[in-house]
């Protein structure tokens, strides 16, 4: 494979926490060398002083294959990911049917290989049909390439089933990803409880339900020793429990969503269903506490939780409308809001969106180091634009950022040294 030289780029190294002007060479799909300064060698690509970072590893993308290809396919999701600087989509198992057998998982990997522009790392369900009654064939699914096991937002209420699944997963070293939420308390809820929810008359859940779910899971982690990742921590009150569990040396990490870091419950306004996500948007106090937890490293990863929904499932009264928002293409510009607000530095952001998810899943990508896959994104954090949802590449257009003024554009994306996105138009 031919060599590619990217020069005059601000290199973001999330591992070292640095941004330096330099040159990066690629050979055979891998990063070969990283050097300071610039080169005028013929054939080298001048990055114009823009930022080059390891491509985003998005933990928890819903591609609606199998089952709901009209909402999102591997082709459309792959194009959206490439345009958003996402080089690995860690796909969710909450499809129709759920990805709970090696055969379904193989279907997914085959479809992705045919159609997706970017890499996929598939997750499998933890229990059959995500029903919380019987564990899946964790061993076979690991062999088939499952990187983690998660029932998504379907919380297993039967603690005995869950403890057995955790124990079994532990014996195989499998990573379990759970959705910390007390299901009885959050049943039927559409928003977070408080003054706003009560005035709007919407069914609401206390933020405490997340902390209760997390507390239970931590106890099970202590009991079984499983490798555990909480998919979304979104409330202030869950953070001390998480911090304590980490201090106690449990194998536990946690993520959050870019929407919870950049939006709050008041954005729902007059029943705008594009802001209905799961867990629901929180108070501003919670949002700032979670941003702080990302900065301090208590929360390890940020994901888009890309969840495509068609117009029909969103054009309903708020309580009846489907949850979820697309996020692949708005992930980076939304993250730049945190950078421009001086809440997180660029290396901190890429630590949470590239390095940490890759590390936790045991993937070789996510870093700017010799020998790592050349999965890269070149972007301009300051380029302004107004988001028009109908220009999104996703089949579904359910973004909360429609009409928002944003800053941060992806200029080029490479996967394994191959350019998969080359800018607008």
């Amino acid at each position: 494979m031919t060599e590619l030289v990217l020069t005059n780029a601000r290199l973001i190294d999330p591992e070292a926490g640095t941004e330096t002007l330099g040159t990066l060479t690629i050979r055979d799909g891998k990063i070969e060398t990283i050097t300071g300064g610039r080169t005028d060698a013929p054939g080298s690509v001048d990055c114009g002083g823009k930022y080059l970072a390891p491509g985003i590893v998005d933990l928890g993308v819903k591609v609606c294959e199998p089952g709901e290809r009209h909402k999102e396919s591997f082709r459309s999701a792959g194009r959206a990911a490439a345009a958003g600087g996402v080089t690995t989509m860690v796909t969710r198992a909450d499809t129709l049917p759920a990805i709970d057998t090696p055969e379904t998982l193989e279907f997914v990997t085959r479809r992705a290989a045919q159609d997706s522009l970017v890499r996929i790392a598939p997750m499998a369900a933890l229990t059959k049909e995500r029903a919380g009654r019987e564990m899946v064939e964790i061993g076979f699914l690991l062999d088939a390439g499952a990187v983690a096991f998660s029932d998504g937002d379907a919380v297993t209420t039967d603690t005995k089933v869950l403890s057995r699944a955790f124990t079994y997963a532990r014996s195989l070293g499998a990573l379990v990803i759970a959705h910390p939420q007390e299901p009885g308390l959050s049943k039927g809820a559409a928003v977070t409880s408080g003054k706003f929810a009560s005035l709007r008359g919407l069914p609401a859940v206390s933020p405490m339900a997340e902390r209760m779910g997390l507390d239970r899971d931590i106890a099970l982690v202590e009991m079984t020793g499983v490798r555990y990742h909480a998919d979304q921590i979104t409330t202030r009150r869950a953070l001390p429990a998480l911090e304590r569990a980490k201090a106690n040396g449990f194998d536990i990490t946690a993520g959050t969503s870019i929407h919870h870091l950049t939006l709050n419950q008041l954005d729902v306004g007059d029943y705008r269903t594009f802001f209905k996500i799961k867990p629901p948007l929180r108070s501003e106090t919670d949002r700032l506490a979670v941003v702080e937890a990302v900065a301090s490293g208590v929360i390890d990863t940020i994901s888009s939780f890309h969840t495509p929904q068609d117009e029909e499932s969103k054009r309903l009264p708020f309580e009846e409308a489907a949850s979820g928002a697309v996020g692949l293409e708005t992930f980076l510009p939304a993250a730049m809001r945190l950078y421009h607000a001086d809440l997180l530095s660029l290396p901190q952001i890429f630590r949470a969106i590239s390095l940490n998810p890759a590390k936790r899943l045991g993937l070789p990508c996510g870093q700017l180091a010799a020998g790592a896959p050349a999965d890269l994104v070149l972007f301009d954090p300051d380029a302004p634009f107004v988001l028009d949802r109908f220009r999104l590449r996703s089949k579904s257009k359910n973004t909360p950022f429609d009409g928002h003024r944003m800053e941060g554009k992806v200029l080029r994306t490479w996967v394994g040294g191959v350019e998969v996105f080359g800018g607008e138009e």
């Binding site: 408080g194 009560s198 008359g201 309903l316 009264p317 708020f318």
Partner: protein, 314 residues
Amino acid sequence: MTFRARHLLGIEPLHPVEITTLLDLADDYVGLNRAAVKHSDALAGLTQINMFFENSTRTQASFELAGKRLGADVMNMSMQASSIKKGETLIDTALTLNAMHPDLLVVRHPHSGAVDLLAQKVNCAVLNAGDGRHEHPTQALLDALTIRRAKGRLHRLTIAICGDIAHSRVARSNILLLGKMENRVRLVGPPTLIPAGAEDWGVEVYGDMAEGLKDCDVVMMLRLQKERMDGGFIPSEREYFHRFGLDAAKLAHAKDDAIVMHPGPMNRGVEIDGTIADDINRSVIQEQVEMGVAVRMAAMDLLALNLREARANG
């Protein structure tokens, strides 16, 4: 123009001046409704459709009568029976109706925000006749008119709203309206029926009837909405009546001339003692029903004026 709204979706977007304008006009209509010939041509030639996605006898009858007395062509549609069962979405229903060129659409729906959603899709004036636990603006307006006529003013009164606040759209609209008109509002009820964050609404919250009713000018009781409860909010109806049901002993804590209100339908012996409800010296529950027709006439009259003006201006 002191009433600018295009729709009446809630009390929240209304200005105090708009509320006063509407109540003043409603006062005139009370006179009309008591006259021998109860008819006006204010809505002549206009079509009013009452679309009820949730059971209602009283509110629907009140809107129907209000429309007919103003000369509108009124049609009632009970939506539970028809398209919902066939799986039609709310927006499709709205578009279908819109094609029939109604001028006034009166909507009740079990989900909060559903009436707002519908209003975005039609070209006529929409009146919210109650959406989920969100708002019921004409109820708050008729309560306001009842209070104003009984007390001679609608400001600087102490008003206790008691009972099932959590499930009540009537309570939300009343809290907003009475707050806008600068009254002192108290919420009284068991903590399980007080919505989260209520203490941030600019009201005082009480868990005891004696304290909550002390020196009140108005005692507004709410219906215990058993049909909206999906879990144990109260231990039993008899304990609820004992602690929160309005009887003579509890009412004695309010001012001597305090009036008693209830939006109906009442659960006698659950939230209110029958003798209090029937006491013509204290209870204004029948007046509330009468004011309901007048307030709805005023609301539709004002919205129709704005609609005609908007149409004349293209």
